[in-house]
Amino acid sequence: MNVQHFIKTAVVCLAVGTMVTLTATPGAAAKLPRDILVFASTDSVTTWDPSASYSTESVYMPNIYEPLIWVSPPGSETSFEPGLAERWKASNDGRMWTFYLRRGVTFHDGSRLTAQVVKDSFERTMRMGKGAAFILDPIDVIKVLDDFTVQFILKEPAPFDRIAASANGAWIISSRGVVKDRDWFEQGREAGCGPYVLESYKPDEEIIFARFEDYWRGWEGPHFSKIVVKIVKEAPVQEQMIESGVADLGNRIPVESSKTFDRKPCCDRLVGPSFMNYAVHLNTQRFPFDNVKIRKAVSYAMPYHDMIDVALGGLGRQAIGPVPFGQFGHDESLFQYAHDMQKAKALMAEAGYPDGIEETVVYTYATENAVEKSFAPLLKEALAEIGIPVEIRPMNWTAQWDWVKGDPEKAQHMAALLWWPSFSDPYETLYSLWHAEEKPYWNFSYYRNPAFDKTILAAYATPAEDEARALYSRAQKMLIDAAPSVFLFDVERPVFKRRELKGYVINPNYPRVPFWYYMYKE
């Protein structure tokens, strides 16, 4: 009978299932081969097009592609290191930059590096106008002087070495790839000349890279032959993967475990600056933050260290001005607001509100951002203490931004913002966030100060690094005095790895990028 059959089949299925379960002994999984690196990463790929890339995939891009030059990690002797260009020079007025290319560089598709390829790559990015293409705005003309010399003529002076070394928008694409459209890349293809070749790609799941045998630096010494990227967004899972040896490297584990990760015999943690920082921008066009005293009171009221502790597990430094620690333009000597409730309350009293204000202020943050979410309650409590009632309103990032972009008189009173520079010069940050805007776009605090605008422009156009640095410090001082924004903290990014994994290089100019070429297992 059918039903009997059904029952019999079900029983058999169950029995077989149980047997399979019993025989499939888990536990001691086979060890990973030494020449394979498994990287548990939170970062998905939003595009494979090197001209459009400006998001989380930039973690992988520097392993596939190379720029003309690299920015050195903080503390290096030189500011820059050669990449595909062996040397370069700028004219005195900072408007003409000449790069002398390395010879004998082969791309993954077998084509060769020439000056024309460099010109085409930059022009492709400029033409598409996607992603970080705006950093190339200063370029006027690109000239091919000979097969291995390329010259950039700029519309106005700019630190083009920093632009050419950017982690976004400055990759050199092979002659075969450069003519392809974006769809071609989105199939999971690349056209780089970096140490690793994209071998297979399952979106949001797995990416496999194999080493490129003809890489120009060669493969002497210990290197990995294959890199397996597992996209794992869940912090506890990454922790387990590294602990159990299923992954060699990870970039996000639970904040609490992160603190003690070093103490485990199998694993350790590397911490470095990241150039990412969090700020809360105050609406200077609206009560109560049109009053500089109240703005300063807010800066004094923030429990910076508690916030860093809760949101980042202690991995951060209270910000000194808007330019993060380690970046060009950062100045340790600038004034830093300390968490001081007495001072904050005194400032409130000075402003005429010793008992606080009646009105509730609205504070928005991006729901997508776990860090902003976790420090929001602390902010609310601190402000309540000095008499500013806060309503926390989490919003989708785009919705929050849309609100900022509307009428300042009706916009939120406070907004959290995570920022990172597109390239290593502070101009972009300072210009975007505090430059006077006709129509609000990135200037979340609606700050207006012609002197500030003039100072940063002068700094940008100054080729001499020391002079530029001094100008940037002066501009930052203006911001700190006017306090249109609360500079909360600079993020330190941890990397979690097995102890036997060596050679990890942290370079915050390429935020969170693991340079696989230098890594190996002991």
């Binding site: 506890p236 639970p254 609490e256 979410k373 976790s374 309650p377 609310k380 409590e381 989490p394 919003m395």
Partner: protein, 300 residues
């Protein structure tokens, strides 16, 4: 085959009710559910008194005692802001119960009048309303809810709207079938004969006689609604911090759950117990009123 067994005897309405109450009283599972519901409602009402740390229940942080495991001081441990989980679970009960009641009110408020009109008017109006209701029912409801919150933006209010919108057609259906069975009854016809207006007949004569199945259905649905709202909260689409919400707490605890297991475990346990209680009671009521009634399908 009609058995001679002496089962069939006429009962009065009061008798029937008595019988139902007896059945409920005799079912240990239902009693268990009722007991839990009573406790829950009490703690929700008296949350500021019941919670050991009412300020933390409302969201105040306590950074000196972060992520402490359960102890006598903190029965269910503390979360990453050092807040007492037990207090937050108690305050979460308020949100959950309030939200469930609100959704039921919205759903009944939309579904019942539409069903009343559809059943009473019949014809084209009926067709129009019921086709529309059928169409809504053909969509996967959770997905619709998620899409709605995703568009309106995450907040408890939007989550309530989103859960309600795909839900009301069940009540329209139920109401319509009730109305159709009642509308031919003599007392309705006599009301029409003395010239009562349609509105009067619908709301004064028909509606009060259709309410009991609606009330039963609403009780049964409470559990599902709590589950649905908790689910949206878990996805980050419901209540926003620092308000205590069970779904959000489970989601927050996920960051720590393999080591600091208590955050998710207790808040999720609270959801489970509450939904279980509502379902046990609903189950009992249904069984008592009509053992043949089919379990309506509602997936969260």
């Amino acid at each position: 085959m009609k058995k001679d067994a002496p089962h069939h005897r006429p009962h009065g309405r009061a008798r029937e009710l008595q019988r139902s109450l007896d059945l409920i009283r005799r079912n240990p599972l239902t009693l268990f559910g009722l007991f839990i519901l009573l406790m829950l409602t009490l703690t929700a009402l008296l949350a500021p008194l019941a919670a050991p740390y009412p300020q933390q229940g409302k969201g105040l942080s306590n950074l000196d005692e972060r992520l402490e495991p359960p102890s006598f001081k903190h029965l269910m441990g503390t979360d990453d802001l050092g807040r007492d989980i037990f207090s937050r679970v108690i305050f979460g009960a308020r949100i959950s119960l309030k939200a469930a009641v609100a959704v039921v009110l919205i759903v009944v408020g939309i579904g019942v009048p539409l069903g009343l009109i559809a059943g009473y008017a019949g014809g084209k109006t009926d067709d129009l309303i019921m086709r529309f209701a059928d169409m809504i029912l053909a969509f996967p409801s959770l997905l619709l809810a998620v899409a709605i919150v995703a568009s309106l933006g995450p907040s408890l209010f939007n989550a309530l709207i989103a859960v309600s919108l795909p839900w009301w057609p069940w009540y329209t259906r139920l109401m319509r079938s009730q109305v159709i069975s009642i509308k031919e009854m003599p007392f309705v016809e006599s009301a029409a004969a003395v010239g009562a207006s349609h509105w009067r007949i619908m709301f004064r004569h028909i509606l009060p006689n259709c309410l009991s199945p609606i009330i039963v259905q609403a009780t049964v649905d409470m559990g599902y609604i709590i589950l649905a709202i908790a689910g949206l909260g878990f996805l980050g689409l419901g209540t926003q911090p620092p308000t205590a919400d069970w779904g959000v707490m489970v989601s927050d605890g996920r960051e720590f759950f393999l080591n600091q297991w208590w955050i998710s475990t207790f808040s999720g346990g609270a959801i489970f117990i509450t939904v279980l209680a509502f379902n046990l009671v609903g189950d009992g009521i249904r069984e008592a009123l009509d053992p043949k009634i089919r379990w309506r399908f509602q997936k969260t």
